[in-house]
């Protein structure tokens, strides 16, 4: 089949979101069912694309409008993009089920549209091969995220969204200034073309431009000084949306940082920007872990834990070595699974028992055994205990960090991990060893999803090698820029 059909990954969510106003009259059930149907279709397409890319070993280059890059915009669906587009689709599919139960606030038709467009934005961010197009998809992602954060219409949600919108707006404008600088210096926006020209950019321009772009993306990627919006937004957003934020929206931002860093690696002043990211990432881990320690609300606690993991991924991606990037991508996959499970179960407790404060988790082991069990598996995995998936990726990140000569930051991250163990064990203790209330009937569909994710954690934990080979290919996709340039059919404008 023609590789250009991979553009359906963008076209399908878009046309389906535009279609929602026409079926909103059919009621809540119909709209939610429609959401499940579309995300299932998207999963099928993403599965086909991933299969195609991994079986041929060649990336799919989608050329919008039939124009060759750099004149037109191209999508570059390599090993990384294929893997993550699939993860995005699968998580969205699960969350479409969860939305049936978790989202009761009206208007549901608007929720469905924004849900689909959030999925679209993250897919586009990961697939695109053009700098300005990346900005457009980042705007799609972040503006849907603003709207969805405030969706519950409580005062808390409005405040969280307000913080997010102000920070996000400033971040996007920085990003845009950076893009303008780089375009001014090179005359092109295509990433492969930029990589070719990177060596010739004036060093100050390259440094300022790159730093501005990283700064802009750091808001989406939740790196330290710019992540103040994140815990509030995670807590206030509808539960399925929190899962999506943590599982792939933040990953799209991280990926964009890594991609642009390595694309411009020939530019002068590049290593200075790497160091900046390393410092931001280490601070993110430390600050987030210590903030998580004193949270009374479980959803907020896991939000902080998610931010600290994200800092670790950014650390790995900015090491500038192949081992670091591979480990970072591995952690991205593992973190997507674990945090999806954690936010799903915590969100489900929030829906079933009315709130996610720690009191609601007392005696959960007797009240909702299945949810409590999967939540426990997720928590143990998040701490990084052997035989769970995150253990492997954490070890690899720390080893890569030592190898690259950043022992001080590895020491800080390790120290922070001890703190992580403390608050997760406290949660597990509350679930199993504190007396609680009545038994609650659990939802079948959500239970199946939770068990599936928990099983995935253990399978990857016991047999990490299969995933590791996939992830190594994806890591090479980011790190090996010469290969990236070779794969994009540039038409040689002005060369």
């Amino acid at each position: 089949m023609n590789g250009q059909y991979a553009s359906l990954l963008i076209a399908l969510p878009l046309i389906s979101a535009f279609f929602v106003p026409l079926i909103k009259g059919l009621g809540r059930k119909a709209v939610m069912g429609y959401l499940v149907l579309i995300t299932a279709l998207q999963t099928a397409i993403a599965g086909w694309v991933a299969n195609e890319v991994y079986s041929t070993g060649k990336p799919i280059i989608v050329m919008a409008g039939g124009w060759k890059p750099p004149v037109g915009i191209n999508l570059y669906i390599g090993h990384f993009a294929a893997l993550f587009v699939f993860i995005i689709a699968v998580i969205s599919f699960f969350m479409a089920f969860f939305s049936f139960r978790a989202v009761t606030v009206e208007p549901v038709d608007k929720y469905a549209m924004l849900f689909l467009l959030l999925m679209l934005g993250a897919t586009g961010m990961i697939a695109t091969g053009d700098l300005f197009n990346l900005f457009v998809f980042m705007e799609i992602t972040s503006i849907t995220a603003y709207a969805l954060t405030a969706y519950n219409k409580t005062g808390e949600a409005a405040e969280a969204s307000m913080k997010y919108i102000v920070l996000g707006g400033i971040g996007s404008s920085f990003f845009l200034i950076g893009v303008a600088l780089i375009y001014g210096a090179t005359g092109t926006l295509n990433m492969a073309h930029l990589a070719q020209l990177a060596g010739a950019i004036d060093p100050t321009v390259a440094q300022v431009g790159l730093a501005l772009i990283i700064f802009g993306l750091a808001v989406e990627a939740e790196l330290f000084p710019l992540n103040a919006w994140a815990p509030d937004a995670y807590q206030a957003a509808p539960h399925p949306i929190t899962v999506m934020f943590s599982a792939f929206v933040v990953k799209a931002g991280l990926y964009a940082i890594a991609r642009l860093l390595y694309i411009l690696q020939n530019a002068n002043g590049w290593s200075g920007v790497l160091k900046l990211v390393i410092i931001m990432a280490t601070l993110t881990v430390v600050v987030a872990e210590f903030s998580a320690l004193r949270q009374k609300d479980v959803k907020r606690m896991i939000a902080y834990s998610s931010i600290s993991q994200v800092g670790m991924i950014a650390f790995a991606l900015a090491l500038g070595t192949q081992a670091g990037v591979d480990a970072g991508v591995f952690h991205m996959v593992n973190h997507a699974i674990v945090k999806a499970l954690l936010f799903l179960t915590v969100g489900y407790v929030g829906v079933a028992l009315g709130g996610t404060t720690i009191e609601n988790f007392q005696g959960l082991g007797k009240r909702m055994p299945l949810t409590a069990l999967t939540l426990t598996i997720g928590s143990l995995a998040a701490v990084g205990i052997p035989l769970f998936n995150i253990f492997w990726s954490k070890v690899r990140i720390l080893l890569a960090g030592v190898e690259a000569g950043y022992s001080w930051s590895v020491a800080l991250i390790l120290g922070a991990s001890v703190v992580e163990a403390v608050y997760y064990l406290r949660l597990i203790h509350t679930i199993w060893f504190v007396e609680g209330g009545e038994r609650v009937r659990e939802n079948f569909a959500i239970g199946v999803i939770a068990i599936f994710l928990a099983a995935l954690i253990i399978v990857i934990g016991v047999y990490p090698n299969d995933v590791w080979t996939i992830v190594q290919k994806a890591g090479q996709d980011i790190f090996n820029v010469a290969n990236y340039i070779k794969n994009v059919p540039l038409m040689g404008v002005g060369a």
């Binding site: 046309i15 409008g65 009206e106 998809f137 503006i143 300022v208």
Partner: protein
């Protein structure tokens, strides 16, 4: 005082830093790489006389599709956040007779001019976004002049969705005919209007897409105005 001076100092440092970066991009020097290609090939490849619209809709049409989506998200988001079961306009002061009569008289002219802008996107400056915004201004005028005026939002919502779908559909037809998403099939496969460059019936699918965008933007911005002007009422 301390806060303010610290802020000013930080801003000055950031400004200096940015100026350093900008100094490396000299003004007025020819830095166009891809730009030259567009200027040299725009007429034969797209049939548009207006190079900006050709780039925005045809060469980099993917971005425009994204921008249309951003606007759609904005209107959906506003509608989602301001949603209440029963909302009505609660304006009390009716405009003067001069104002209401003037608005009534002006309305068709503004709508016509907006349509003119988006239909002639491939020939004159403008296009779908300014055209759509002009049309929304006409509805804003009605809202401001009349205390009871309301757009038919059910119909507007449907039109908005249909317009968005037709944009994606035009792209998908390109995928089916030419093999690429957003492929300009009217110009490059059918060669329709190739001997007509510079007149109304040329420009491949640019006028079609701009008409779609114009309708979509017009209904969307009117919808945002409508949502923001109404207040909750309790029975």
């Amino acid at each position: 005082m301390l806060k303010r001076s610290l802020a000013i100092i930080t801003l000055l440092i950031v400004g200096y830093w940015l100026a350093q970066g900008l100094a490396g991009v000299p003004f007025g020097e020819d830095k166009m790489l891809v730009g030259h290609y567009y200027l040299q090939h725009v007429k034969e490849q797209t049939g548009a006389v207006n190079a900006v619209t050709a780039i925005v809709v045809n060469y980099r049409g993917f971005d425009t599709l994204g921008e249309v989506t951003v606007l759609f998200i904005a209107s959906t988001g506003v509608a989602a956040l301001l949603w209440r079961k029963k909302r009505e306009r609660t304006a009390k002061v009716e405009g003067s007779v001069v104002l209401t009569t003037g608005a009534e008289l002006l309305f068709p002219f503004i709508v016509m001019f907006g349509a003119y802008i988006f239909i002639h996107g491939h020939l004159t400056p403008g296009g779908g976004f300014p055209g759509g915004a002009t049309i929304a201004t006409a509805f804003l005028l009605l809202y401001m002049a009349f205390t009871i005026y309301e757009i038919p939002h059910k119909a507007f919502e449907k039109v908005e969705g249909l317009a968005g779908m037709s944009y994606v559909l035009v792209g998908l037809i390109g995928l089916a005919i030419g093999g690429y998403f957003l492929f300009d099939w009217i110009w490059q496969t059918w060669h329709w209007g190739t001997d007509n460059i510079g007149r109304l019936f040329s420009g491949g699918f640019i006028p079609i897409i701009y008409t779609i965008i114009g309708i979509k933007v017009g209904t969307e911005l009117s919808g945002i105005v409508d949502n923001m002007l109404k207040e909750e009422v309790r029975e």
